[in-house]
Amino acid sequence: MGFSVSAAALIIGISFLIAFEGFTTAIVPLVSDVHQSYSEMMDKKTEASQASIDIINVSTNSNGSGYVDCAIYIKNSGSNTITLQRCSLLIDGILTVFQTNDSFLFPERFATLFVYHLPLSGLTRMKLVTEHNIATYIEVNI
């Protein structure tokens, strides 16, 4: 009788250990992955809170027939490096492709964005958005 109870307890104990080991094997990498994702997202949010950009000036050059070329001077007034290729430029609300000689804009540095052959005239509103969704506006009279 005692031996039977011991055998039953042994079987149940071994199955408990197997189940617990499987449970732990599944939970540990899961928690690790979630923590890593959360950390990466928090790092990104922290970068966004420290990011700032300004449009300093806009110069235009008319190339005839109502089209202009623009040079947009920007400054990174934040404490993080900005990836210029991931910035978005909207001119009068329309997403506009720009060119630049720089790939990254370091803190307290300047860069120039070039846009060509645009049909702009009068009061024009420009919005620049960084990869962290930090935006800056400027209105110019062309």
Partner: protein
């Protein structure tokens, strides 16, 4: 005496076998429940991971919404950590709290990588002049609100 001894041993054997069977049944139930729980935890963890890594923003100029081919154009920028699938089934659009029927909006591309922009075209019939609020709900209920004026 032999009969009595055999009966006593037989009873012990019967007790042992039955206890092993019961213990096996208990163990089987225990392992099955734990396995199911592990699967649920894993699925939930993947959902949480997707929600944490998904983020986007509407970056339009609120006072200048482009109008192209009978549709107003809104720009969604992927500011998360993973690509977004852009379709009427994965992303829902609300104007002033009213959900827009999937036939009345579409996207410029099927997906948008991290840091890139996708255009959302909403039929002009859904938006009249004045002040409006656009709300876009994406995967894992990640959403963004945008107020604009036409």
């Amino acid at each position: 005496m032999i009969h009595i001894g055999f009966s006593l041993t037989g009873a012990h054997v019967i007790f042992f076998v039955s206890s092993v069977i019961v213990a096996g049944a208990v163990s089987g139930v225990f392992i099955a429940v734990t396995t199911g729980l592990m699967g649920s935890f894993t699925d939930r963890g993947i959902q949480i991971q997707e929600k944490v890594e998904t983020d986007f923003a509407i970056i339009n100029d609120p006072t200048a919404i482009p109008f192209v081919n009978d549709s107003y154009v809104f720009y969604l920028k992927n500011i998360g950590l993973r690509s977004l699938i852009c379709s009427n089934t994965t992303i829902q659009v609300f104007i002033d709290g009213d959900i827009i029927s999937p036939e009345l909006y579409h996207f410029g591309t099927a997906s948008v990588y991290v840091g890139d922009i996708v255009s959302l075209f909403i039929s002009e019939t859904m938006i009249d002049e004045g002040f409006h609020t656009l709300r876009i709900v994406g995967p894992s209920t990640v959403q963004d609100n945008f107020e604009f004026m036409l």
